[in-house]
Symmetry: C2
């Protein structure tokens, strides 16, 4: 059962703005990641922070052990409710969230939490039924975690006691890479950092069964993953313009686009006004820092094809997007109401404004409608 099936509804009939998910591309991206990790014999714990959909999770879990990563406890509750119980909640846990995770675990889930804080470690260690806990390691992103050589590791492990299940890291700074060689170099630093922390724990008499690393760029481009027990990645499922620019995948591998309608025409200024603005697309401007700047997204035709060259959404008001048409292509002679699509800068942000995916399979017929879990 994959979501609600629709009877051959055409994209043309959907209310705009909305998300179109091409499952042909999604399946290809999932297969590419599975193949990349299979080379190393390391399993994937897909990060559902981007897709937030049980239907997508089922596809991403094909051939994998069955555990997932989540970015919110709302996701944990949702996926546990759909039978996925092995959940890694990949943001530093707080006392309040620890109570919520423990309640979920008491109801049948098996949420793994992470920490880099001695007070929280002591609190977890003192619990009657603590969740499995990973110590967060910083392998260069400088967001959360302690360094692999940090002396605090010993005290954290001691305080956690039997709750200690291993270590995890996220080389989010791989997003600052600009080539496959950059990704491979950052992946190796991520791997050596996390395996070093695990080795230190073993030296202290602990048993870090989980040695978890990952980001889409480093998961796809790691040269080796020796000593790593699982990899986490999420954005690879959908892709986006930013990931295409940094070399994670190609422009043809973007599975999610925003369907939009023309709501105004200014041929003399070579501009179209569309009903996908800052809410439908997000205000993310991550392509500002990569070779090709796509504004707030790249304009595609209703079939999702790159028919308009470098025509981008140059301004994003709340519900209005201004599409500036590339001078190298003819001005699209489209009436008000005509459908277009926009490829997102940063898919995690764009999809978050929407409640569901309208799923196509390479064409323009909606074959399913898949809900998302938003909020916290």
């Amino acid at each position: 059962m994959i979501g609600q099936r629709l009877n051959n509804q055409r994209l043309d009939h959907l209310p705009t703005p909305c998300l179109v998910l091409d499952q042909a591309i999604l399946r290809r991206n999932i297969a590419a990641m599975a193949a990349a990790l299979a080379r190393h014999g390391v399993p994937l714990r897909p990060h559902m922070k981007t897709a937030k959909s049980i239907d997508v999770a089922r596809l991403a879990l094909a051939g994998q052990p069955g555990g997932i990563t989540v970015s919110t406890l709302a996701e944990a509750e949702y996926f546990a409710g759909h039978g996925i119980t092995d959940l890694l909640y990949a943001a530093g846990i707080t006392p309040q969230k620890l109570a919520r995770a423990a309640a979920l675990n008491a109801a049948g889930a098996d949420i793994i939490v992470i920490t880099d804080d001695p007070d929280i470690a002591a609190m977890i260690g003192a619990m009657e039924v603590p969740p499995r806990t990973l110590i967060e390691i910083d392998t260069g992103e400088h967001r959360g975690g302690i360094g692999p050589e940090d002396g605090a590791l010993e005290a954290l492990a001691a305080r956690l006691g039997p709750a200690l299940a291993g270590v995890m890291t996220h080389a989010g700074h791989s997003y600052a890479g600009r080539s496959i060689a950059d990704m491979a170099r950052i992946a190796e630093a991520e791997r050596t950092g996390i395996t070093r922390a695990a080795e230190r724990l073993r030296g202290l008499g602990h048993d870090p069964r989980i040695v978890s690393m990952g980001s889409s760029p480093t998961a796809l481009h790691a040269a080796k993953l020796d000593g790593v027990t699982e990899v986490r990645a999420g954005v690879y499922m959908f892709g986006d313009l930013f990931q295409a620019e940094i070399g994670t995948h190609g422009l043809d591998d973007i599975a999610v686009t925003v369907l939009t309608s023309v709501i105004g025409r200014r041929p003399a200024e070579r501009r179209l006004l569309v009903d996908a603005g800052g809410l439908a697309l997000s205000k993310d401007r991550s392509t500002e820092s990569v070779p090709v700047d796509y504004g707030f997204g790249l304009l595609l035709d209703a079939g999702g094809r790159r028919e308009f060259g470098h025509s981008v959404i140059c301004r994003a008001y709340q519900e209005h997007g201004v599409a500036e048409i590339d001078p190298a292509v003819p001005f699209p002679d489209l009436p008000v109401g005509a459908k277009l699509r926009v490829a997102p800068n940063h898919t995690c942000m764009t999809v978050a404004a929407h409640e569901r995916y309208y799923v196509v399979d390479g064409g323009q017929t909606v074959v399913a409608e898949w809900p998302r879990v938003n909020g916290w």
Copy 2:
């Protein structure tokens, strides 16, 4: 009845991230706008695109005729379901949305639509029961609409026939103003443009009963509103850092903040990691272009006070925000789990990620929970 009442729950107990709405500030902002327009004897048609809440709409409508502005048909459906039937849908209508608006009107709503397109005008004019329609006029924003002197006005009016109810404009370029004098100048251009279009229609034998203009800055700072029949504004209800920087209101007039928890501490780097990231705050960077750049938001204490100087969210990952503490203040000695608040850059974008407001009344006790309508 204003939303679900909560029995003296403390902010401390709320799951984070979430929205805190201080109704004391909200009421003050609403009173300030009402007073500004009362000077001119012009009524307000509050724009609900920011608040998207029936509870806020009821406050904003006090002493006003009762019509509102909406930015999506989802809002129109929601507010009509709550008994507000006089609705101006302020984005260019498409054939598909025209059908949806007509269906709502047949069910008892009275949605006013806008257009600047001759084909759409002809389609509306040919409807058996057309919605009241306004011609969109461009008074300097250059987003939608025709110019006040544009020859196309005559044909649009003729095609609309009896559906023509008037003209509307939005001087969104007032956001590029940087002083009250700027706002007043843009407001006067907005007023002269929209009244000129109305005058031309009268000269053609039409009766433009609605002459609608507005944006929060121009509504608050217009020197005169002669010839205007209503003003639209929305963001003034909540305010934000951007509006404070351009002079629409003061920093103490921001009614909505994001409640967040500390999830990591890096005292040596003078950084705190919080659980309000790009989704909870939005990736809007509008304060980049104003005198004071607040990153992704200004850090406040749990009571909403500016206790940390210019400490801002300098990086926003999906669920992680990095707060950089102002060197001029002591590093906040807060444990993981401690609550803080973040004032938003652009409140319309920030609140859109959330399903509800937790309402306080000047203190830290939750007195109500008000739902929002999101999506399209």
